[in-house]
Protein backbone atom coordinates (compact mmCIF):
# COMPACT_ATOMS: atom_id res chain seq x y z
CA UNK A 1 0.00 0.00 0.00
CA UNK A 2 2.61 2.50 1.14
CA UNK A 3 6.26 2.11 0.28
CA UNK A 4 8.81 4.76 1.25
CA UNK A 5 12.42 4.39 0.07
CA UNK A 6 15.10 6.64 1.53
CA UNK A 7 12.76 9.63 1.90
CA UNK A 8 14.52 12.91 2.67
CA UNK A 9 12.95 16.26 3.19
CA UNK A 10 14.77 19.54 3.74
CA UNK A 11 13.67 23.12 4.05
CA UNK A 12 15.96 25.85 2.87
CA UNK A 13 16.31 29.02 4.88
CA UNK A 14 18.38 31.35 2.71
CA UNK A 15 21.16 29.00 1.63
CA UNK A 16 21.09 26.99 4.84
CA UNK A 17 19.64 23.54 4.51
CA UNK A 18 17.41 22.37 7.35
CA UNK A 19 16.95 18.61 7.09
CA UNK A 20 13.62 17.44 8.53
CA UNK A 21 13.57 13.84 7.36
CA UNK A 22 16.88 12.10 7.02
CA UNK A 23 16.22 8.96 5.04
CA UNK A 24 13.04 7.11 5.92
CA UNK A 25 12.48 3.53 4.77
CA UNK A 26 9.05 2.24 5.58
CA UNK A 27 6.37 -0.07 4.24
CA UNK A 28 2.79 -0.16 5.41
CA UNK A 29 0.44 -2.82 4.15
CA UNK A 30 -3.32 -2.94 3.97
CA UNK A 31 -5.12 -3.41 7.28
CA UNK A 32 -2.36 -2.16 9.54
CA UNK A 33 -2.89 0.21 12.49
CA UNK A 34 0.31 2.22 12.81
CA UNK A 35 1.08 4.84 15.44
CA UNK A 36 3.86 7.29 14.62
CA UNK A 37 5.27 8.55 17.89
CA UNK A 38 7.63 11.49 18.20
CA UNK A 39 8.24 14.71 20.03
CA UNK A 40 7.32 17.95 18.39
CA UNK A 41 9.89 18.84 15.71
CA UNK A 42 10.84 15.21 15.15
CA UNK A 43 9.49 15.32 11.59
CA UNK A 44 6.49 13.07 12.17
CA UNK A 45 3.95 15.53 10.76
CA UNK A 46 6.10 16.18 7.69
CA UNK A 47 6.27 12.43 7.19
CA UNK A 48 2.51 12.21 7.46
CA UNK A 49 2.03 15.03 4.95
CA UNK A 50 4.26 13.20 2.48
CA UNK A 51 2.39 9.95 3.03
CA UNK A 52 -0.89 11.86 2.61
CA UNK A 53 0.27 13.35 -0.72
CA UNK A 54 -0.01 16.86 0.70
CA UNK A 55 3.73 17.49 0.56
CA UNK A 56 6.58 16.25 -1.62
CA UNK A 57 9.86 14.74 -0.50
CA UNK A 58 13.14 16.35 -1.53
CA UNK A 59 14.69 12.98 -2.27
CA UNK A 60 13.72 9.32 -2.36
CA UNK A 61 10.96 7.23 -3.90
CA UNK A 62 7.40 6.99 -2.74
CA UNK A 63 5.09 4.37 -4.14
CA UNK A 64 1.48 4.67 -3.13
CA UNK A 65 -1.09 2.02 -4.07
CA UNK A 66 1.32 0.73 -6.70
CA UNK A 67 1.92 4.14 -8.28
CA UNK A 68 5.12 6.14 -8.03
CA UNK A 69 3.79 9.52 -7.02
CA UNK A 70 6.89 11.62 -7.73
CA UNK A 71 5.93 13.09 -11.08
CA UNK A 72 2.18 13.43 -10.58
CA UNK A 73 0.48 16.76 -11.22
CA UNK A 74 -1.92 18.61 -8.96
CA UNK A 75 -5.03 17.15 -10.53
CA UNK A 76 -3.83 13.55 -10.27
CA UNK A 77 -2.66 14.01 -6.66
CA UNK A 78 -5.97 15.61 -5.67
CA UNK A 79 -7.74 12.68 -7.26
CA UNK A 80 -5.60 10.12 -5.40
CA UNK A 81 -6.13 11.87 -2.07
CA UNK A 82 -9.84 11.87 -2.66
CA UNK A 83 -9.93 8.21 -3.67
CA UNK A 84 -7.58 6.60 -1.14
CA UNK A 85 -7.17 8.81 1.90
CA UNK A 86 -9.35 10.14 4.68
CA UNK A 87 -7.76 12.88 6.79
CA UNK A 88 -8.41 13.62 10.44
CA UNK A 89 -6.78 16.65 12.07
CA UNK A 90 -6.13 17.87 15.57
CA UNK A 91 -8.33 20.96 15.14
CA UNK A 92 -11.13 19.01 13.37
CA UNK A 93 -11.33 21.61 10.58
CA UNK A 94 -15.04 21.43 10.10
CA UNK A 95 -16.40 24.22 7.93
CA UNK A 96 -18.38 26.61 10.13
CA UNK A 97 -21.09 27.42 7.61
CA UNK A 98 -22.08 23.79 7.00
CA UNK A 99 -23.97 21.53 9.38
CA UNK A 100 -22.69 18.12 10.46
CA UNK A 101 -24.01 16.10 7.53
CA UNK A 102 -22.90 18.69 4.97
CA UNK A 103 -19.41 18.63 6.44
CA UNK A 104 -19.38 14.87 6.08
CA UNK A 105 -20.38 15.23 2.42
CA UNK A 106 -17.44 17.50 1.44
CA UNK A 107 -15.30 14.71 -0.11
CA UNK A 108 -18.30 13.62 -2.19
CA UNK A 109 -18.30 16.95 -4.06
CA UNK A 110 -14.86 16.10 -5.44
CA UNK A 111 -15.34 12.34 -5.77
CA UNK A 112 -15.19 10.44 -9.02
CA UNK A 113 -16.12 7.14 -7.42
CA UNK A 114 -19.84 7.61 -7.82
CA UNK A 115 -20.75 6.67 -4.25
CA UNK A 116 -24.41 5.67 -4.21
CA UNK A 117 -26.79 7.65 -2.01
CA UNK A 118 -24.09 9.74 -0.33
CA UNK A 119 -26.57 11.47 1.97
CA UNK A 120 -27.87 8.16 3.27
CA UNK A 121 -24.34 6.98 3.77
CA UNK A 122 -23.32 10.13 5.66
CA UNK A 123 -26.36 9.74 7.88
CA UNK A 124 -25.49 6.12 8.51
CA UNK A 125 -21.91 7.02 9.49
CA UNK A 126 -23.04 9.78 11.84
CA UNK A 127 -25.54 7.36 13.37
CA UNK A 128 -22.83 4.75 13.83
CA UNK A 129 -20.81 7.30 15.82
CA UNK A 130 -23.76 8.20 18.01
CA UNK A 131 -24.55 11.52 16.33
CA UNK A 132 -27.99 10.83 14.86
CA UNK A 133 -29.43 13.68 16.92
CA UNK A 134 -26.71 16.06 15.74
CA UNK A 135 -27.02 15.73 11.97
CA UNK A 136 -28.20 19.29 11.40
CA UNK A 137 -26.11 20.99 14.04
CA UNK A 138 -23.43 23.48 13.05
CA UNK A 139 -19.89 22.70 14.33
CA UNK A 140 -20.19 25.52 16.87
CA UNK A 141 -23.08 23.63 18.49
CA UNK A 142 -21.03 20.44 18.93
CA UNK A 143 -18.57 19.41 21.63
CA UNK A 144 -14.93 18.67 20.75
CA UNK A 145 -15.48 14.91 20.80
CA UNK A 146 -18.58 15.25 18.61
CA UNK A 147 -16.74 17.47 16.16
CA UNK A 148 -13.94 14.96 15.86
CA UNK A 149 -16.43 12.16 15.24
CA UNK A 150 -18.03 14.25 12.48
CA UNK A 151 -14.53 14.71 11.04
CA UNK A 152 -13.97 10.94 11.13
CA UNK A 153 -17.30 10.36 9.40
CA UNK A 154 -16.12 12.84 6.75
CA UNK A 155 -12.88 10.87 6.40
CA UNK A 156 -14.88 7.70 5.77
CA UNK A 157 -17.70 8.83 3.52
CA UNK A 158 -15.81 8.31 0.27
CA UNK A 159 -14.66 4.76 1.22
CA UNK A 160 -10.92 5.44 1.45
CA UNK A 161 -8.31 2.70 2.01
CA UNK A 162 -6.44 4.67 4.62
CA UNK A 163 -7.28 6.98 7.49
CA UNK A 164 -4.50 9.47 8.25
CA UNK A 165 -4.94 11.13 11.63
CA UNK A 166 -2.62 13.86 12.86
CA UNK A 167 -2.86 14.26 16.67
CA UNK A 168 -6.55 13.34 16.54
CA UNK A 169 -6.84 13.52 20.34
CA UNK A 170 -4.66 16.59 20.80
CA UNK A 171 -7.55 18.96 21.39
CA UNK A 172 -9.62 16.58 23.51
CA UNK A 173 -9.60 15.50 27.15
CA UNK A 174 -8.13 12.05 27.81
CA UNK A 175 -11.47 10.28 28.20
CA UNK A 176 -12.87 11.64 24.90
CA UNK A 177 -9.49 11.04 23.28
CA UNK A 178 -9.67 7.42 24.39
CA UNK A 179 -13.12 7.09 22.79
CA UNK A 180 -11.78 8.43 19.53
CA UNK A 181 -8.93 5.90 19.61
CA UNK A 182 -11.44 3.11 20.31
CA UNK A 183 -13.29 4.24 17.26
CA UNK A 184 -10.13 3.93 15.15
CA UNK A 185 -9.62 0.43 16.50
CA UNK A 186 -13.13 -0.49 15.48
CA UNK A 187 -12.55 0.89 11.99
CA UNK A 188 -9.28 -1.05 11.78
CA UNK A 189 -11.12 -4.23 12.69
CA UNK A 190 -13.49 -3.47 9.82
CA UNK A 191 -10.45 -3.51 7.52
CA UNK A 192 -9.35 0.15 7.23
CA UNK A 193 -5.67 0.95 7.31
CA UNK A 194 -5.13 3.46 10.11
CA UNK A 195 -2.15 5.74 10.60
CA UNK A 196 -2.12 7.96 13.69
CA UNK A 197 0.58 10.53 14.36
CA UNK A 198 1.01 11.66 17.96
CA UNK A 199 3.40 12.85 20.62
CA UNK A 200 1.24 11.34 23.38
CA UNK A 201 2.82 8.12 24.76
CA UNK A 202 -0.54 7.00 26.16
CA UNK A 203 -1.79 6.34 22.63
CA UNK A 204 1.05 3.91 21.83
CA UNK A 205 -0.92 0.94 23.07
CA UNK A 206 -3.86 1.45 20.70
CA UNK A 207 -2.02 0.51 17.50
CA UNK A 208 -0.78 -2.81 16.24
CA UNK A 209 2.51 -1.26 15.22
CA UNK A 210 4.50 1.54 16.81
CA UNK A 211 7.00 3.58 14.78
CA UNK A 212 9.09 5.97 16.82
CA UNK A 213 10.52 8.99 14.99
CA UNK A 214 13.49 10.82 16.43
CA UNK A 215 15.16 13.77 14.75
CA UNK A 216 13.97 12.88 11.26
CA UNK A 217 14.72 9.17 11.36
CA UNK A 218 13.00 5.99 12.50
CA UNK A 219 14.47 4.97 15.85
CA UNK A 220 12.14 2.10 16.64
CA UNK A 221 9.60 0.00 14.71
CA UNK A 222 7.75 -2.54 16.85
CA UNK A 223 4.83 -4.69 15.86
CA UNK A 224 2.85 -5.82 18.83
Amino acid sequence: MIDLRNIRKSYFVGDRELPILKGIDLSITKGEFVVFMGVSGSGKTTLMNIIGLLDKQTEGDYTFAGTSVDGLDDERLADMRNTYIGFVFQQFFLLPYLDAIENVLIPIVYSKKGIKHPRKKAKMLLGKFGLEQRIHNKPSQLSGGEQQRVAIARALVNDPEIILADEPTGALDSKTGGEIMDLFQMLNEEGKTIIVVTHDPKLATFGKRLVRIDDGAISEDITT
Binding site: D74, A78, E102, Y110
Partner: protein, 407 residues
Protein backbone atom coordinates in the same frame (compact mmCIF):
# COMPACT_ATOMS: atom_id res chain seq x y z
CA UNK B 1 -17.03 19.65 -17.20
CA UNK B 2 -14.62 17.14 -15.70
CA UNK B 3 -14.95 18.88 -12.37
CA UNK B 4 -18.30 17.37 -11.53
CA UNK B 5 -19.19 13.79 -12.26
CA UNK B 6 -22.84 14.17 -11.54
CA UNK B 7 -25.55 16.81 -11.41
CA UNK B 8 -26.01 16.08 -7.71
CA UNK B 9 -22.40 17.12 -7.14
CA UNK B 10 -23.00 20.37 -8.95
CA UNK B 11 -26.08 20.96 -6.82
CA UNK B 12 -24.12 20.22 -3.66
CA UNK B 13 -21.47 22.69 -4.83
CA UNK B 14 -23.97 25.46 -5.52
CA UNK B 15 -25.71 24.87 -2.21
CA UNK B 16 -22.39 25.17 -0.45
CA UNK B 17 -21.58 28.46 -2.17
CA UNK B 18 -24.95 29.85 -1.18
CA UNK B 19 -24.26 28.84 2.43
CA UNK B 20 -20.83 30.47 2.29
CA UNK B 21 -22.38 33.71 1.05
CA UNK B 22 -24.97 33.58 3.81
CA UNK B 23 -22.27 32.95 6.41
CA UNK B 24 -20.25 35.95 5.22
CA UNK B 25 -23.39 38.02 4.58
CA UNK B 26 -22.03 41.03 6.49
CA UNK B 27 -19.42 41.76 3.89
CA UNK B 28 -21.35 40.32 0.99
CA UNK B 29 -24.05 42.95 1.51
CA UNK B 30 -21.58 45.78 0.80
CA UNK B 31 -20.42 44.56 -2.55
CA UNK B 32 -23.94 43.43 -3.36
CA UNK B 33 -25.42 46.90 -2.82
CA UNK B 34 -22.62 48.58 -4.76
CA UNK B 35 -23.25 46.36 -7.74
CA UNK B 36 -27.00 46.83 -7.42
CA UNK B 37 -26.61 50.62 -7.55
CA UNK B 38 -24.25 50.46 -10.51
CA UNK B 39 -26.59 48.20 -12.42
CA UNK B 40 -29.54 50.37 -11.43
CA UNK B 41 -27.96 53.39 -13.07
CA UNK B 42 -27.04 51.39 -16.16
CA UNK B 43 -30.65 50.27 -16.46
CA UNK B 44 -31.90 53.82 -16.07
CA UNK B 45 -29.51 55.07 -18.72
CA UNK B 46 -30.55 52.49 -21.25
CA UNK B 47 -34.27 52.82 -20.60
CA UNK B 48 -34.12 56.61 -20.63
CA UNK B 49 -32.17 56.76 -23.85
CA UNK B 50 -34.51 54.26 -25.45
CA UNK B 51 -37.45 56.26 -24.16
CA UNK B 52 -36.02 59.54 -25.45
CA UNK B 53 -35.43 57.99 -28.84
CA UNK B 54 -38.92 56.63 -28.94
CA UNK B 55 -40.28 60.03 -27.98
CA UNK B 56 -38.17 61.64 -30.70
CA UNK B 57 -39.53 59.12 -33.14
CA UNK B 58 -43.06 60.06 -32.07
CA UNK B 59 -42.36 63.76 -32.48
CA UNK B 60 -40.83 63.00 -35.82
CA UNK B 61 -43.93 61.05 -36.86
CA UNK B 62 -46.25 63.74 -35.51
CA UNK B 63 -44.45 66.53 -37.33
CA UNK B 64 -44.36 64.42 -40.39
CA UNK B 65 -41.11 62.96 -41.61
CA UNK B 66 -41.41 65.05 -44.76
CA UNK B 67 -41.88 68.45 -43.15
CA UNK B 68 -39.64 71.51 -43.25
CA UNK B 69 -39.98 74.64 -41.11
CA UNK B 70 -38.64 78.03 -42.16
CA UNK B 71 -38.24 80.65 -39.41
CA UNK B 72 -37.29 84.28 -39.51
CA UNK B 73 -33.82 85.20 -38.26
CA UNK B 74 -30.48 83.50 -38.89
CA UNK B 75 -28.84 80.83 -36.75
CA UNK B 76 -26.95 83.46 -34.77
CA UNK B 77 -30.02 85.49 -33.83
CA UNK B 78 -31.85 82.33 -32.93
CA UNK B 79 -28.98 81.23 -30.74
CA UNK B 80 -29.15 84.63 -28.99
CA UNK B 81 -32.93 84.22 -28.67
CA UNK B 82 -33.55 87.30 -30.76
CA UNK B 83 -36.72 87.04 -32.82
CA UNK B 84 -36.34 88.64 -36.16
CA UNK B 85 -39.08 88.89 -38.67
CA UNK B 86 -37.57 88.32 -42.07
CA UNK B 87 -39.97 85.95 -43.80
CA UNK B 88 -42.22 88.10 -45.94
CA UNK B 89 -45.71 87.04 -46.92
CA UNK B 90 -44.50 86.97 -50.52
CA UNK B 91 -41.71 84.51 -49.52
CA UNK B 92 -44.34 81.92 -48.67
CA UNK B 93 -45.63 82.05 -52.23
CA UNK B 94 -42.08 81.71 -53.57
CA UNK B 95 -41.45 78.69 -51.34
CA UNK B 96 -44.76 77.13 -52.42
CA UNK B 97 -43.44 77.07 -55.97
CA UNK B 98 -40.33 75.03 -55.08
CA UNK B 99 -40.37 71.64 -56.76
CA UNK B 100 -41.94 68.80 -54.75
CA UNK B 101 -43.81 70.89 -52.19
CA UNK B 102 -47.41 69.76 -51.78
CA UNK B 103 -48.49 71.48 -48.59
CA UNK B 104 -47.71 74.90 -47.18
CA UNK B 105 -48.76 76.36 -43.88
CA UNK B 106 -48.16 79.97 -42.88
CA UNK B 107 -47.76 80.85 -39.23
CA UNK B 108 -47.74 84.11 -37.36
CA UNK B 109 -47.28 83.77 -33.62
CA UNK B 110 -48.34 86.62 -31.34
CA UNK B 111 -46.62 86.14 -27.96
CA UNK B 112 -47.98 86.98 -24.53
CA UNK B 113 -51.55 87.69 -25.50
CA UNK B 114 -54.01 87.87 -22.62
CA UNK B 115 -57.00 85.52 -22.94
CA UNK B 116 -60.03 86.24 -20.81
CA UNK B 117 -63.10 84.19 -20.08
CA UNK B 118 -65.44 85.50 -17.42
CA UNK B 119 -63.13 86.39 -14.53
CA UNK B 120 -60.34 84.06 -15.60
CA UNK B 121 -57.18 85.28 -17.32
CA UNK B 122 -54.54 83.29 -19.08
CA UNK B 123 -51.58 84.67 -20.97
CA UNK B 124 -50.37 82.62 -23.88
CA UNK B 125 -49.56 82.78 -27.57
CA UNK B 126 -52.06 83.38 -30.29
CA UNK B 127 -51.00 81.41 -33.33
CA UNK B 128 -52.35 82.56 -36.65
CA UNK B 129 -52.31 79.92 -39.32
CA UNK B 130 -53.96 78.44 -42.36
CA UNK B 131 -56.76 75.88 -42.35
CA UNK B 132 -54.37 72.97 -42.89
CA UNK B 133 -52.60 73.60 -39.54
CA UNK B 134 -54.31 70.75 -37.69
CA UNK B 135 -54.12 68.15 -40.38
CA UNK B 136 -50.53 69.05 -41.04
CA UNK B 137 -49.60 68.44 -37.37
CA UNK B 138 -51.99 65.45 -37.27
CA UNK B 139 -53.60 67.11 -34.29
CA UNK B 140 -57.10 65.91 -33.38
CA UNK B 141 -60.00 67.68 -31.69
CA UNK B 142 -61.61 66.92 -28.33
CA UNK B 143 -64.55 69.04 -29.41
CA UNK B 144 -65.56 71.33 -32.25
CA UNK B 145 -63.76 71.67 -35.53
CA UNK B 146 -61.40 73.70 -37.67
CA UNK B 147 -62.20 77.14 -39.13
CA UNK B 148 -63.27 77.23 -42.77
CA UNK B 149 -61.62 78.83 -45.78
CA UNK B 150 -64.43 81.36 -45.66
CA UNK B 151 -63.78 82.29 -42.07
CA UNK B 152 -60.11 82.53 -42.97
CA UNK B 153 -60.71 84.84 -45.92
CA UNK B 154 -63.04 87.10 -43.93
CA UNK B 155 -60.65 87.19 -40.95
CA UNK B 156 -63.39 86.17 -38.57
CA UNK B 157 -62.96 86.20 -34.82
CA UNK B 158 -62.93 82.45 -34.23
CA UNK B 159 -60.37 80.34 -32.37
CA UNK B 160 -59.38 76.83 -31.48
CA UNK B 161 -57.85 76.46 -28.04
CA UNK B 162 -55.18 74.03 -26.84
CA UNK B 163 -55.88 71.57 -24.02
CA UNK B 164 -53.87 73.63 -21.53
CA UNK B 165 -55.75 76.83 -22.33
CA UNK B 166 -59.04 74.95 -22.16
CA UNK B 167 -58.09 73.67 -18.70
CA UNK B 168 -57.09 77.14 -17.46
CA UNK B 169 -60.09 79.04 -18.81
CA UNK B 170 -62.95 76.55 -18.84
CA UNK B 171 -61.94 73.88 -16.26
CA UNK B 172 -64.03 71.16 -17.85
CA UNK B 173 -66.96 73.34 -18.89
CA UNK B 174 -68.23 73.20 -22.45
CA UNK B 175 -66.23 75.76 -24.43
CA UNK B 176 -67.72 75.49 -27.91
CA UNK B 177 -69.65 78.57 -28.89
CA UNK B 178 -68.43 80.54 -25.88
CA UNK B 179 -66.74 83.87 -26.33
CA UNK B 180 -63.26 84.58 -24.99
CA UNK B 181 -61.44 87.87 -25.31
CA UNK B 182 -58.14 87.50 -27.15
CA UNK B 183 -56.18 90.66 -26.43
CA UNK B 184 -59.01 93.07 -27.04
CA UNK B 185 -60.91 91.00 -29.59
CA UNK B 186 -63.97 89.00 -28.49
CA UNK B 187 -63.57 85.63 -30.22
CA UNK B 188 -65.82 82.58 -30.53
CA UNK B 189 -64.30 79.24 -29.49
CA UNK B 190 -65.07 76.74 -32.25
CA UNK B 191 -62.73 73.90 -31.26
CA UNK B 192 -60.72 72.35 -28.46
CA UNK B 193 -57.58 70.40 -29.32
CA UNK B 194 -56.60 67.01 -27.95
CA UNK B 195 -53.88 67.00 -25.36
CA UNK B 196 -50.54 66.23 -26.89
CA UNK B 197 -48.23 66.71 -23.89
CA UNK B 198 -44.56 67.55 -23.58
CA UNK B 199 -42.63 70.32 -25.17
CA UNK B 200 -39.72 70.48 -27.54
CA UNK B 201 -37.42 73.20 -26.22
CA UNK B 202 -40.19 75.78 -26.10
CA UNK B 203 -43.52 76.53 -24.44
CA UNK B 204 -45.85 73.66 -23.72
CA UNK B 205 -47.43 72.45 -26.95
CA UNK B 206 -50.93 72.43 -25.47
CA UNK B 207 -50.59 76.02 -24.31
CA UNK B 208 -51.75 77.94 -27.39
CA UNK B 209 -54.73 79.45 -29.13
CA UNK B 210 -54.97 79.00 -32.90
CA UNK B 211 -56.82 81.45 -35.10
CA UNK B 212 -56.96 82.24 -38.79
CA UNK B 213 -53.71 83.94 -39.81
CA UNK B 214 -55.69 86.79 -41.30
CA UNK B 215 -57.46 87.47 -38.00
CA UNK B 216 -54.19 87.53 -36.03
CA UNK B 217 -52.33 89.80 -38.42
CA UNK B 218 -55.16 92.27 -38.98
CA UNK B 219 -57.15 92.27 -35.74
CA UNK B 220 -54.84 91.14 -32.91
CA UNK B 221 -51.60 92.72 -34.09
CA UNK B 222 -51.05 94.92 -37.08
CA UNK B 223 -48.53 92.99 -39.12
CA UNK B 224 -49.09 92.73 -42.84
CA UNK B 225 -45.54 92.22 -44.07
CA UNK B 226 -44.01 89.36 -42.15
CA UNK B 227 -44.67 85.80 -41.05
CA UNK B 228 -43.10 84.00 -38.05
CA UNK B 229 -42.67 80.77 -39.92
CA UNK B 230 -43.64 78.77 -42.92
CA UNK B 231 -44.05 75.04 -42.79
CA UNK B 232 -44.05 72.93 -45.90
CA UNK B 233 -44.24 69.29 -46.83
CA UNK B 234 -42.38 67.79 -49.70
CA UNK B 235 -42.30 64.51 -51.49
CA UNK B 236 -38.78 65.16 -52.67
CA UNK B 237 -35.58 64.50 -50.78
CA UNK B 238 -35.51 66.72 -47.65
CA UNK B 239 -31.98 68.02 -48.06
CA UNK B 240 -32.44 68.92 -51.70
CA UNK B 241 -35.69 70.74 -50.99
CA UNK B 242 -34.05 72.64 -48.12
CA UNK B 243 -31.27 73.67 -50.49
CA UNK B 244 -33.81 74.95 -53.03
CA UNK B 245 -35.80 76.88 -50.42
CA UNK B 246 -32.59 78.45 -49.17
CA UNK B 247 -31.69 79.49 -52.67
CA UNK B 248 -35.10 81.07 -53.30
CA UNK B 249 -35.07 82.95 -49.98
CA UNK B 250 -31.50 84.26 -50.39
CA UNK B 251 -32.41 85.60 -53.78
CA UNK B 252 -35.62 87.18 -52.46
CA UNK B 253 -33.77 88.76 -49.51
CA UNK B 254 -30.94 89.96 -51.72
CA UNK B 255 -28.30 87.96 -49.87
CA UNK B 256 -25.22 87.40 -51.99
CA UNK B 257 -21.71 86.04 -51.51
CA UNK B 258 -20.64 85.43 -47.91
CA UNK B 259 -23.60 87.11 -46.23
CA UNK B 260 -25.22 84.87 -43.60
CA UNK B 261 -28.78 83.63 -44.05
CA UNK B 262 -31.33 85.83 -42.27
CA UNK B 263 -33.65 82.84 -41.86
CA UNK B 264 -33.38 79.32 -40.43
CA UNK B 265 -34.57 76.11 -42.00
CA UNK B 266 -35.33 73.12 -39.80
CA UNK B 267 -36.52 69.67 -40.77
CA UNK B 268 -37.72 66.80 -38.63
CA UNK B 269 -34.25 65.34 -39.11
CA UNK B 270 -32.85 68.17 -36.97
CA UNK B 271 -35.16 67.23 -34.13
CA UNK B 272 -33.86 63.70 -34.25
CA UNK B 273 -30.32 65.03 -34.25
CA UNK B 274 -31.15 67.23 -31.24
CA UNK B 275 -32.49 64.30 -29.24
CA UNK B 276 -29.45 62.27 -30.20
CA UNK B 277 -27.21 64.96 -28.74
CA UNK B 278 -29.27 65.02 -25.56
CA UNK B 279 -29.18 61.28 -25.12
CA UNK B 280 -25.46 61.39 -25.90
CA UNK B 281 -24.75 63.72 -23.00
CA UNK B 282 -27.05 61.72 -20.78
CA UNK B 283 -25.12 58.60 -21.67
CA UNK B 284 -21.84 60.32 -20.91
CA UNK B 285 -22.95 61.62 -17.53
CA UNK B 286 -24.94 58.69 -16.19
CA UNK B 287 -22.62 56.24 -17.92
CA UNK B 288 -19.62 57.63 -16.08
CA UNK B 289 -21.54 57.56 -12.81
CA UNK B 290 -22.57 53.95 -13.21
CA UNK B 291 -19.15 52.78 -14.32
CA UNK B 292 -17.65 54.48 -11.27
CA UNK B 293 -20.23 52.78 -9.04
CA UNK B 294 -19.43 49.42 -10.58
CA UNK B 295 -15.67 49.89 -10.37
CA UNK B 296 -15.87 50.98 -6.74
CA UNK B 297 -18.10 48.08 -5.78
CA UNK B 298 -15.80 45.80 -7.76
CA UNK B 299 -12.85 47.02 -5.70
CA UNK B 300 -14.77 46.62 -2.46
CA UNK B 301 -15.71 43.11 -3.47
CA UNK B 302 -12.15 42.24 -4.48
CA UNK B 303 -10.70 43.58 -1.24
CA UNK B 304 -13.23 41.99 1.07
CA UNK B 305 -12.72 38.78 -0.79
CA UNK B 306 -8.99 39.07 -0.53
CA UNK B 307 -9.29 39.55 3.22
CA UNK B 308 -11.58 36.56 3.70
CA UNK B 309 -9.10 34.28 2.00
CA UNK B 310 -6.77 34.55 4.98
CA UNK B 311 -9.67 33.62 7.20
CA UNK B 312 -10.72 30.78 4.93
CA UNK B 313 -7.27 29.24 4.55
CA UNK B 314 -8.29 26.18 6.55
CA UNK B 315 -11.43 25.85 4.48
CA UNK B 316 -9.28 25.82 1.35
CA UNK B 317 -6.76 23.42 2.93
CA UNK B 318 -9.39 20.92 3.96
CA UNK B 319 -10.99 20.97 0.53
CA UNK B 320 -7.63 20.47 -1.14
CA UNK B 321 -6.83 17.58 1.21
CA UNK B 322 -10.15 16.01 0.32
CA UNK B 323 -9.55 16.15 -3.38
CA UNK B 324 -10.24 19.68 -4.61
CA UNK B 325 -7.84 20.67 -7.38
CA UNK B 326 -6.36 24.16 -7.76
CA UNK B 327 -8.74 24.69 -10.63
CA UNK B 328 -11.65 23.61 -8.47
CA UNK B 329 -10.78 26.14 -5.77
CA UNK B 330 -10.31 28.86 -8.39
CA UNK B 331 -13.68 28.16 -9.95
CA UNK B 332 -15.57 28.00 -6.68
CA UNK B 333 -14.20 31.37 -5.55
CA UNK B 334 -14.91 32.88 -8.93
CA UNK B 335 -18.40 31.45 -8.83
CA UNK B 336 -18.93 33.02 -5.43
CA UNK B 337 -18.02 36.49 -6.64
CA UNK B 338 -20.05 36.12 -9.83
CA UNK B 339 -23.03 34.99 -7.80
CA UNK B 340 -22.80 38.12 -5.62
CA UNK B 341 -22.60 40.48 -8.57
CA UNK B 342 -25.25 38.55 -10.47
CA UNK B 343 -27.74 38.79 -7.63
CA UNK B 344 -26.71 42.44 -7.26
CA UNK B 345 -27.44 42.89 -10.94
CA UNK B 346 -30.87 41.30 -10.67
CA UNK B 347 -31.63 43.52 -7.67
CA UNK B 348 -30.49 46.54 -9.69
CA UNK B 349 -32.83 45.62 -12.53
CA UNK B 350 -35.77 45.21 -10.14
CA UNK B 351 -34.93 48.51 -8.45
CA UNK B 352 -34.81 50.25 -11.79
CA UNK B 353 -38.24 48.90 -12.66
CA UNK B 354 -39.58 50.29 -9.38
CA UNK B 355 -37.71 53.59 -9.55
CA UNK B 356 -38.27 53.90 -13.28
CA UNK B 357 -41.93 54.82 -12.99
CA UNK B 358 -41.15 57.39 -10.28
CA UNK B 359 -38.44 58.82 -12.47
CA UNK B 360 -40.79 59.00 -15.37
CA UNK B 361 -43.25 61.13 -13.42
CA UNK B 362 -40.57 63.27 -11.80
CA UNK B 363 -38.59 64.27 -14.87
CA UNK B 364 -41.07 63.63 -17.62
CA UNK B 365 -38.59 61.25 -19.23
CA UNK B 366 -40.22 58.30 -20.89
CA UNK B 367 -38.56 54.96 -20.13
CA UNK B 368 -38.56 51.81 -22.17
CA UNK B 369 -37.77 48.44 -20.72
CA UNK B 370 -36.53 45.78 -23.02
CA UNK B 371 -34.50 42.62 -23.16
CA UNK B 372 -31.59 44.80 -24.12
CA UNK B 373 -31.64 46.37 -20.65
CA UNK B 374 -31.69 43.01 -18.91
CA UNK B 375 -28.99 41.68 -21.19
CA UNK B 376 -26.59 44.58 -20.65
CA UNK B 377 -27.27 44.73 -16.92
CA UNK B 378 -26.51 41.05 -16.49
CA UNK B 379 -23.49 41.27 -18.76
CA UNK B 380 -22.02 44.13 -16.73
CA UNK B 381 -22.68 42.43 -13.41
CA UNK B 382 -21.11 39.24 -14.71
CA UNK B 383 -18.02 41.13 -15.87
CA UNK B 384 -17.72 42.90 -12.52
CA UNK B 385 -17.88 39.53 -10.81
CA UNK B 386 -15.20 37.99 -13.00
CA UNK B 387 -12.86 40.99 -12.85
CA UNK B 388 -13.06 41.52 -9.11
CA UNK B 389 -13.10 37.83 -8.23
CA UNK B 390 -10.20 36.76 -10.40
CA UNK B 391 -7.28 37.94 -8.30
CA UNK B 392 -8.62 36.68 -4.96
CA UNK B 393 -9.60 33.39 -6.59
CA UNK B 394 -6.12 32.99 -8.05
CA UNK B 395 -4.62 33.67 -4.66
CA UNK B 396 -6.90 31.12 -3.04
CA UNK B 397 -6.02 28.47 -5.60
CA UNK B 398 -2.30 28.94 -4.94
CA UNK B 399 -2.58 28.17 -1.25
CA UNK B 400 -0.91 24.83 -0.56
CA UNK B 401 -2.86 22.42 1.62
CA UNK B 402 -0.08 21.97 4.19
CA UNK B 403 0.41 25.68 4.80
CA UNK B 404 -3.35 26.06 5.11
CA UNK B 405 -3.72 23.21 7.56
CA UNK B 406 -0.65 24.06 9.59
CA UNK B 407 -1.87 27.32 10.64
Amino acid sequence: MALFQKISQLREFIEEVVKILYYYRGRVIFSFSGVALGILSICIIITTIDGANKKAQEIFEALGPDSIMVFGGGERQRAARIRTSSIKTGDADLIARVEGIYDIMKIYSARNVMMRYKDRNWQTQAVGSTTNYFESFSWGFQAGTVFTEDEYDRAEAVCIIGAKVYEELFRGENAIGKTIVVGKLPTTVIGVLEERGGSVGGPHVDDRVIMPLTTVTSRIVNEKRYLSAVRVKTHRDLDRTIEDIRHVLRASHGLTGNLDDDFTIRSSKDILAFVTVISGSLLLFLGTASIVALVVSGFVLANLFYLTIQERKKDIGIRRAYGATRKGILLSFLFESILITFIGGVAGILLSVILGSTFEKLFDIPMMFSFKVVFFALLFSFLTGVLSGLRPALKASRIEPIEAIRG
